[in-house]
Amino acid sequence: MLPLKIATRFLKSGKGQTALIVFGIAIAVSVQIFVGLLIIGLQLSLVNSTIGNQPQITIRPAGDNNTIKNWEIIVNQVRNVDGLDKISVTAAGNASVPDDNGILPILVQGFDFQSADRIYGISESIYQGKQIQSLKQVLIGRSLEEELEVEIGDKLPILTPDGGVNLFEIAGFYDLGIESINRSWVITNLVAAQRLFGYRDRVTEIIMTVDQDRLFDADRIAARIQQAVNSEDIEVTNWKDQNEELLSGLEGQSISSGVIQGVVLASVVVAISSVLSITVLQKSRQLGILKAMGITDRDASLIFVFQGLLIGLIGATVGIAMGLGLLYAFNTFTSSAEGTALIEIYIDYNFIIRSWVIAISSSTLAGLIPARRSLKLNPVDVIREG
C-alpha cells in the first residue's frame, strides 16, 4: 500500500526528528503507565488493608429480629450468586470481662471456625497458643491480652447481659492488625456462642467475600443476594456502604490520576499534530508531485494518518516498557532494608492495554490535522516555486 510505504520512508528520512517525537510519546506513555499503575497498586493495597481480611458483604437480621433463622437455607440460596467467593456465619453478642478497674466491654464472636478462618485468616494471626479445640475455649486479641495481663491456659470469666457468668479457657492470642478488633473480639466456637447467648441454632450474621477482581462490584453483588433471598427478615450490607470516606478517597485518587493521564495524552496529541504539520511543509514538494501524478486526496491524507499510527505504535510500546521499568526501579529503590516494598506493584493488564490503545488511537487521530492541511496543498504552487 503506497501511503503506508511513503509514510514509512518519510519517517525514516528524518530519523532524528522521528526518534525525538517517538521518544516524546514514549516518555508521556511511560509517565501515564507509571502514575496509573502506582495509583492502582496504592488503591488496591489500601482496600486490601482495610477490607481484605474482612467480609465484604454481610447479611444481618432486619426489623425487630436479633438473629437469622433458617440460615442454612439462605446460605444455599446465595452460594451460587455470581462474584461471591467465601461464605461463613457468626453468632455474635455483646458481653464483658472483669479487669482490675471494673469491667471491659467485649464482643464474643462465635465462628464456624473452618469457613471463618478463610475470610479473616485467624489461624495465621495466632502469635501465641493454638486454635480452639473445645466449646470452652476462646482466643483473645493482642490489645485485650495486654490490658488483662493474662496468659495461655488462664480462665476468662465472660459476663453476659442476662447476668450469667461463663468461664472459658484462653487457648491463644491473635493479632488481626486492627486495634479495635484486637481489643474487643473474643473468638469462640459457633455453638459455644449460640449457647452463651441463647440463640439456639440461629446466627447473627452471614458473612461473605467477593472475588478479588470484583471488590468494587460488591454493591451490585449485594443487590443480587437481596434479590435471591427475597425476605424482609434480613438486610444485606456491603463494604462500600460502610466505607464512604475510603471510597471518596479512592475516587479522588482515581480522578487525579485521570487528570494527569488526560493532560499527558493531550500533550501527546498536540506534539504529534504540530510535528506532523511541520512534515507537511517539509514534504510539500513530494506531496505536490504525488498529486500531479494522480494520488487521490484520500491517499495523500492517509500518508499522515499512517505516520501518526506508526509513531504512536512505536512510542506507546516503548513507553509501556519504560513505564514498567520505572515502576520496578521505584519499587526496588523504595524498598525497606528487609526487602519489603513500599507499595505493592499490581500489573493491571487491562489498564496497560487500554493505555496502549488510547495512545495509538490519539496519535493516529493527531495525524488527521496535518492530513487536512495536506488537502489544501496545490501541486501548481509547488511546481511554480521549483
Partner: protein, 235 residues
C-alpha cells in the same frame, strides 16, 4: 484523432490586482504528434501547460482530454486522468528523494494499484534501460547527476503508458550536451511509444526537434505552424 483540446480558455489570477495571463486560447493536439509551445519567460506558457495537465483550472473556457470534459470531473476523476492519461516531466525532476530510482519509476503504477507484478517490475526496468540508466536503479536520486535525474523523471512519466506526455522546460536545468541527449531521447520515445508529446520551452533548439511549434506571447497565441526543419511523423 484529437487527444487534447482547449477552447476559449482564459486564466485570470485575482488578488490585490487582477492579472489575466491567458486570453481566449483555442488549441488542439492530434494524437501521436510532437508539439512545442514556445515563448519568453512570463508569456503564460507554463500556466497553459498546468491547465492542459489539469493541475490548474481555467477561469473560463473548456479543456477536453481523451474525449472527457475536465469541467465535469470531480477531484478523484481528475486525479485518475492525471495518473493514467498524462505523464509529466518538469524542469526540476521532482523525484521523491526517499525512494530509489526504480521505486520512483514505479510510483505512478502504485498510486492506483496496491501491488506490483513481475511484469510491471520488468516494464520499469525496461524503461530505465531505454533512458540509459538501468545500472542506477538502486541509487537514490541524490546519488545521481542532474541528467540522470531527468532521465529517471522521463521513465517515470512513461510508466503508466500515458497517451499524453507534458514536459515543462524539461531541459531548463541541464547543460547543452545533456539537453541534446534528452532531446534525442524524446525523439526515440516518440517513435517507440507513439505518445502525444507536448513540450513547453523557451529553448528554440529543443523546439526544433518537434513537428509543430506554437508561439505564445503575453498570454496569446501569436503563431502556430508545422516545423518544416524536421520530418513530421506519419501515422
Amino acid at each position: 484523432m484529437i487527444t487534447l483540446e482547449l477552447s476559449g480558455v482564459n486564466k485570470i489570477y485575482s488578488g490585490a490586482y487582477q492579472t489575466q495571463v491567458l486570453f481566449d486560447i483555442n488549441l488542439s493536439f492530434e494524437a501521436k504528434t510532437c508539439s512545442a509551445i514556445v515563448g519568453e519567460s512570463g508569456s503564460g506558457k507554463s500556466t497553459l501547460m498546468n491547465i492542459m495537465g489539469i493541475l490548474d483550472t481555467p477561469t473560463s473556457g473548456e479543456v477536453t482530454i481523451a474525449s472527457n470534459l475536465v469541467s465535469r470531473m470531480n477531484r478523484k476523476q481528475m486525479a485518475e486522468i492525471r495518473n493514467r492519461t498524462i505523464g509529466f516531466v518538469f524542469q526540476f525532476h521532482y523525484l521523491l528523494p526517499e525512494f530509489t530510482v526504480l521505486e520512483n519509476v514505479l510510483i505512478p503504477h502504485l498510486i492506483h494499484n496496491r501491488s506490483q507484478s513481475g511484469q510491471v517490475l520488468n516494464r520499469a526496468r525496461n524503461l530505465l534501460d531505454i533512458v540509459g540508466i538501468a545500472k542506477l536503479e538502486k541509487r537514490l536520486p541524490t546519488q545521481i547527476s542532474g541528467g540522470e535525474q531527468q532521465r529517471t523523471a522521463i521513465a517515470r512519466a512513461l510508466m503508466n503508458n500515458p497517451s499524453i506526455i507534458l514536459a515543462d522546460e524539461p531541459t531548463g536545468n541541464l547543460d547543452s550536451v545533456t539537453t541534446q541527449n534528452v532531446c534525442r531521447l524524446f525523439g526515440e520515445i516518440k517513435k517507440e511509444f507513439n505518445t502525444t508529446f507536448i513540450v513547453v520551452t523557451h529553448d528554440r533548439t529543443v523546439a526544433s526537434h518537434t513537428d509543430r511549434i506554437v508561439e505564445v506571447r503575453d498570454g496569446r497565441i501569436i503563431s502556430d505552424k508545422l516545423n518544416t526543419k524536421t520530418v513530421p511523423e506519419t501515422e
